[in-house]
Amino acid sequence: METPELPGLAAGFGALLRRDLQLAWRQRGQAVNPLIFFVMVTALVPLAVGPEPALLTRLAPGMVWIMALLGTLLAADALFHEDFVDGALEHLVLSPQPLWLLVLAKVTAHWLVIGLPITLLSPLLGLMLALPDAGFMPLLVGLTLGTLVFSLLGAVGGALTVALGGRSVLLSLLVLPLYVPVLIFGTSAVTQAVAGGGIGGPLALLGAIAALALAVAPFAAAAALRAGIDG
Amino acid sequence: MSPQFHGVAEFLAMGGHGPYVWSAYGVALVVLVWLVVQPLRRRAAILKSVRQVLAREGNR
């Protein structure tokens, strides 16, 4: 009997990506929850601090970024946990494909389902919080890169806590400190644009962080999965 | 080199900064002592429980 031919790297990546997207589509009710959370919590800000546009304008960049951070964090817990519960994760870890590539596929799917919609919704929240026109472009670009980093680091945290029974609070404790640089550069890109300054610096730094996370996080998450799966 | 303070009261007052200086040093002392005592107590507790296990096995 000849050994069955293994699918190539790209095919393995594509298959897992398609599967995760299909799963997300079938459970689209769950997938939109972080988005609803994102919008609802932002609507609480004016209720808490008052509706003066000047105040909201000052708060807008930070608030939108923090809500985006929390929205992706809520979803990071589900990244590996469901596959762990139904046993699919064990197969991924044992599969001949390199685990970091499979992690990357799952992160890509997660970002397409959570990070990208949050980014696309953010201008709406910017409008609600009286963000000046100059802030929208850096908000969009920054969140595109930033939510990618959130998903990548969230994957590391999700992998570490995968067997611990959906402990999303523990996951938050682990990854929130790691989110600090993204939050700083992301919000200051918007703030500087609103103040009429250049935005190249912080966005370039954000891009560098995203590149570094893309290079390191899949390997870290793969190592974390191998350890974390044993609970 | 000579002492900067004349008498205990002046030393404790720290030129008006006493509460700040002593709360920093006091909390540091508590934490440092706890850091030393805690592993020693843990070690003693483990050895004690091992001795209890040995005694129980010896009585059988």
């Binding site: 682990l174 929130l176 570094l212 870290a220 190592a223 | 900064h17």
Partner: protein, 251 residues
């Protein structure tokens, strides 16, 4: 096998380390007590008061050493984690386990001493200064580390997971520090300048040096004490720990 590696293997095994460290402990304890005692009296009584801050500057003899160790402790923890991941060395995992709460305690002390030093110096316990903020993030990193280990019931898996987290944190710490520095330079309030005194008088600096060395020795002492307790906890069912407990020809 080359003989020169024998000492390493003996030291790398938990019982070997336990035995060897038993001989180091008295020396470390005496050295730490002497250095900290001398530094304390020198710093509190003999060092001249600061021209601007008066006697409140004496908090520096706590604050600076623990701040150094708080950061250094994370690298100790991460290095132990790397050794554990690469060479599957059990002792390294025990050192890592011991280093996390120790680092958290020192980071807390750094924040605490900084806060009570800040009140008489800048009139407030807390400012969002770059170094203070970085220290706060470091405390969160340590707490996450402790929480992750407590979350696991499987000790072997906990060790590897914590090692991965420590290494990810190590990559991140320089980025966090740089980003917080940069953030602070954007928002620096004009009224509060936290630049350190341009140059310290040697009479103030010498006791600080003694305290820094003393705290490093103290750190080594506590790390070893914690590692020894961790070794006993994990090997409590082995023969050598039973011999030790029963007092049979062991130290």
């Amino acid at each position: 096998m080359a003989r020169k590696w024998q000492w390493f293997h003996r030291l790398g095994s938990p019982p070997g380390f336990y035995r060897a460290s038993g001989y180091w402990l008295p020396w470390l304890a005496v050295a730490a007590a002497l250095l900290l005692g001398v530094g304390l009296v020198w710093g509190l009584v003999y060092a001249p008061p600061d021209a601007r801050q008066g006697n409140s500057f004496r908090i520096i003899y706590i604050h600076v050493p623990v701040s150094f160790l708080a950061l250094a402790g994370y690298y100790v923890m991460a290095a132990a984690g790397a050794v554990h991941l690469i060479w599957r060395m059990k002792l390294a995992d025990m050192v890592m386990t011991a280093a996390a709460p120790l680092g958290a305690a020192l980071t807390f002390l750094a924040l605490w001493s900084g806060a009570v030093w800040g009140k008489p110096t800048w009139g407030t316990y807390w400012v969002w200064d770059a170094r203070i903020t970085s220290m706060l993030v470091l405390l969160f990193l340590y707490l996450g580390m402790v929480a992750l280990r407590l979350g696991f019931s499987n000790r072997e898996a906990a060790g590897r997971a914590c090692a991965v987290l420590a290494l990810v944190g190590t990559v991140n710490i320089p980025i966090i520090y740089k980003s917080v520095d940069w953030w602070y330079s954007l928002h620096q309030p004009a009224t509060i300048r936290l630049t350190a005194a341009p140059s310290m008088h040697p009479d103030m600096f010498k006791p600080l040096l003694v305290m820094i060395v003393g705290f490093y020795v103290f750190y080594a002492l506590v790390l070893i004490l914690n590692t020894r307790a961790e070794i006993l906890a994990r090997e409590r069912r082995t023969g050598w720990v039973r011999d030790l407990a029963a007092g049979r020809n062991q130290r």
